[in-house]
């Protein structure tokens, strides 16, 4: 493939055009809108301004939303790692049916995630399955209020994003040579010690990749909080969406979008520093 591309440089044009039109162009629009005070229409004055950004940091409401979004994203990422790791480890090292199970893991993706999210609504609503079972078993008297809470939002987000964590983890763990674990055991490490020293250590790149794949989309998500969350569990995605679609203030929406993108970048940067990923990547060039 790469040889084909090398010899026929023109083959890259369609992909490049696609990228230009659907990625670079919209991004440029957002970048421009974020720094002006009006729509780009003939007959209106257009001024360069930072006001769109200042509003975000001046209003307590928006800062609260920003904080909540980051908190929800962190919790979701943490629990998806916690759930995905054992599953990925099982798939990579403990079963020979991993290929089939990976496909099975993908089956829910054949159904649109909005529909799956509505299904959660049925499960956790006041007269949903969970409450019905708990009341009929006399564990609770009053139905629990799960739907329209931050908990429900996190639940929905973990549910939709955990497979995104499983796949990169599975890929890295299955690439770790079993003989490394055997060597650690042979040299006197206990089973748990060998797991931490070898498997966990060498799968940090997978954890990192999974985190990027989960944290960023979760930070910007709007559909799941809109369906499962209440007014006090809105996320930034909801604000951005309403600015573009309901309010019609593209300038403010664009500024918020850029802010969110910068926050994501910054967090990933800090995270990679914290994990010392450079050194891991360097070591894995085998």
């Amino acid at each position: 493939m790469s040889q084909l591309l090398k010899n026929n440089k023109k083959l890259i044009y369609p992909g490049f055009l696609w990228f230009l039109f659907f990625f670079i162009f919209p991004l440029t629009v957002i970048l421009v809108y974020a720094f002006i005070d009006n729509f780009l229409r003939s007959g209106t004055d257009v001024n360069f301004t930072f006001d769109n950004f200042l509003i975000i940091f001046q209003r307590k409401h928006y800062l609260l939303l920003l904080g909540r979004s980051i908190r929800i994203s962190l919790i979701t990422t943490f629990f998806s790692i916690a759930f995905a790791y054992p599953i990925a480890y099982f798939l990579a090292k403990k079963t020979k049916y991993d290929k089939i199970l990976i496909v099975a893991l993908m089956i829910p993706f054949w159904v649109n995630y909005l529909i799956r999210t509505f299904a959660w609504k049925l499960i956790i609503s006041e007269n949903g399955i969970i409450n019905k079972i708990l009341t009929s078993l006399n564990i609770i008297d009053e139905p629990l209020r799960i739907l329209y809470t931050e908990f429900a939002v996190i639940l929905g987000l973990i549910y939709t994003h955990t497979p995104m964590m499983i796949l990169p983890l599975y890929a890295t763990i299955s690439r770790i040579d079993n003989s490394l674990l055997e060597a650690a055991l042979d040299l006197g490490a206990s089973k748990s010690r060998a797991f931490f020293d070898i498997i966990l250590r060498l799968s940090l790149t997978g954890i990192f990749a999974g985190t990027v794949l989960v944290f960023i989309p979760v930070l910007g998500s709007f559909a799941i909080p809109a369906i499962l969350g209440g007014t006090d569990s809105m996320m930034i995605g909801n604000i951005i969406e309403s600015q573009f679609i309901e309010v019609g203030n593209w300038n403010f929406g664009s500024a918020f979008t850029l802010t969110l993108a910068l926050i994501s970048l910054a967090m990933i940067f800090i995270y990679s520093k914290f994990f010392g990923l450079q050194s891991i990547y360097k070591n894995q060039e085998i």
Partner: protein
Amino acid sequence: MEKYIVELKNVVKKFGNFTAVDNISLKIKEGSFFSLLGPSGCGKTTTLRMIGGFIDTDKGDILIDSSNMKGVPPNKRSTSLVFQNLALFPHMNVKDNIIYGLKKRKTPPDIINEKLKRILNIVNLSGLEHRRITELSGGQQQRVALARSLIIEPEILLLDEPLANLDKKLRISMQYELKEIQKRIGTTFLYVTHDQGEALAMSDTIAVMNDGKIIQTGSPSEIYNHPSDIFVADFIGAGNFIELKALKKLGSKEFGNENIHLKDINDIQDNVEDRKNQPEPLTNQSNHVNEFESIICITKAGGKIIHRMKKDNLRKISLKDSAQNMVFFIRPEKISLMRNLSFKADNYIEDAENGTGSRFLRQEDIDSKEINFYQGIIESIIFEGPDIRLVINSNQAGRLKAEVKNERFFLGLTVGSSIDFFWNIEEGTVFF
């Protein structure tokens, strides 16, 4: 009394219907270099991994230092394994790899440093302790793996074809190094390989395995010079296998007796029966001759090979029902070449005068019945540097591979020229 550090007693291991290790028993002397040699799939690696504790045995016992290892995990055994792919930890540098085992044993730092220093010296890696594994050459990685296993001072070091991934020159220099290190530290090495040259070069004892069984155990020279069956003969080194149709007995008296009595194989059997009933007749011959007996092997092609063999072995053959599937085996380098007397006689004498005349045979040597002497035609010549390999076709012995040293004497040989060749009647083996 010599101490055996590892003992296997009737060990069996099955994977599903496949018997990987089939009732193996062996003893490994403390401080020796012991090799398990066999083709891939013969069960040698399974045996090694059972001793290391990575695989459970189905039946039988493994004793290390006289204590039974049943149910003892690898981290509780006094063994250490050098893996085929080395299994060095990619995220650690040389030093951290080597001291991993000591750290898990909670060894105090000053002792760790001391041992590290010593082992780096032994494996010749001093100064490289802060290098990444990926920055090392194949041979250096090899030595890190060795050091990592040796530093925990195992009673037995298990090596699973650790040289298999190195190129030929490096492999040979590592063979010397391994042997040298083994001698210096005195640890028992159990080495698994499919490379017969490697096993011969390094081992004190070799056990040849095939189909989950140990076929023959012995020193390298025993295994090479006296293979116990066709498999071992064929697996270790090259050889000529000449099919036989009958064995006959050479004159029962002295060798060189012109009056050769040819008898049938059945006659030999009768003879054995006779001997069982009568005490050995006392003769004035030496013991040596008493133990050995000369026979004539009749090849399928109708040629004759005189062979002197142990009487014990002859008895075993004679107990066989027929001469079917009997094979005479001789290694190529046991066949000596000499130029045809009729061919360039002048050069021949010149060679003799120059001191390379050892290939000059006198008629009386040929007549003595101490050698098999044939004439043949050279069918092919392969020049391999130190050695020259030839294929010789002769009416009496058939098509044979021969191997001679690269000496001036042989340089003039060409395909199609006729050549005389011979071997001592004590060389070779009859398999039945």
